[in-house]
Subunit: 130 residues, 2 copies
Amino acid sequence: MSSAEILSGHNIRPSLMRVMIYDFLKENRTHPTVDDIYTALHPAVPTLSKTTVYNTVRLFCKAGLTKMVTIEEQQARFDGCTELHGHFICSECGKVFDFDTDMPKVAGLEDFEIATHDVYCSGVCKNCLN
Amino acid sequence: MSSAEILSGHNIRPSLMRVMIYDFLKENRTHPTVDDIYTALHPAVPTLSKTTVYNTVRLFCKAGLTKMVTIEEQQARFDGCTELHGHFICSECGKVFDFDTDMPKVAGLEDFEIATHDVYCSGVCKNCLN
DNA sequence: TAATAAATTTGTAATCATTACAAAAGTGAA
DNA sequence: TTCACTTTTGTAATGATTACAAATTTATTA
C-alpha cells in the first residue's frame, strides 16, 4: 500500500508535504526529531517550513499513524512504527534503539481506560561500550 | 532514616534547601514539576529560587535519589520513589498515577548496558471517565 | 574567634523547542 | 474563471531549561 493510500485511509489528505514526511518516517527508523526531519527534507524542498513539520507530525500522531517518543529529552522524537516495541536511549551517543518487548503488566488501574503502553530503557549501547 | 541522612548517604550535603525539596518529593507523590515544587515551597522560603530547584532535582537524579518522569509533556516531572513502578498519565486531567508493573521484557539488546527501565501508559483515568 | 576557602544559592539573561496566528499559496468544485 | 476550503508558510510569542557570575552561606584553618 502506498503512503498516499495509507494517509487517505486515516482521513488525511495526501498532500505532497505529508507524503514526503510520512515516507521519511517510514524509511528512517532513527526516531528523528522535528529538526532532523526538517534538515533532511529541506534541501529537496526549499520552501518547507518547520511549522509544517510540527503540524504534520502532530496530525499523524493524532491519527495514530505515528508515535511520539519522549525519552529523557526536551526534544520530541517520532516513530513511523506503531507496533508494540520498546525504546532504548544511549546516554553516551544519544541514539535511540528499538527492542522487542511484550505488553507490560498493569495492575491497580481498574476502571481506567488505557490507550497506550510504552516501555523505555536507558543505558550505554554496544558501540559506546568499546 | 532522616532525609538528611539519606542525602548524606548519597554524598549530597544536606543543606536546608535540599532537605526541604527532598522532603517535599517524599511527601507529595504527585510527580510534581519544578514549578509545582517552587510554588509549594516559596511561601515558606521566600528567598527560594527556581534555579535552585532545577539544580537540586538534577543533583538528586544524578545521584539516583529521585527519578525524572518524562511522559508526553514538555515539562519534566520528578518522583521521590525509585522502586520499579509504572506511570499512567490521564489525557483529560493531566494527572499522573502510579501503578504496579514488573520488569519489562527486553530482547535484542545483547551487549548493551541497561541502567533504567520505565513503563508508561496513557488514557483516561477513573475520575474523568464519569 | 577571625580569616579564608569552598560549596551553595540566587537572579538575570540567554537558549531553544514548541505553539499561536494570520497571511499566502495551493486545490478542487461549480 | 471564481469561490470556498485546505494546506503551507513566516514571524512573533510562549515557556521550560540552562549558563553564568555575583551574593550568600557553610566549613576549615590559623
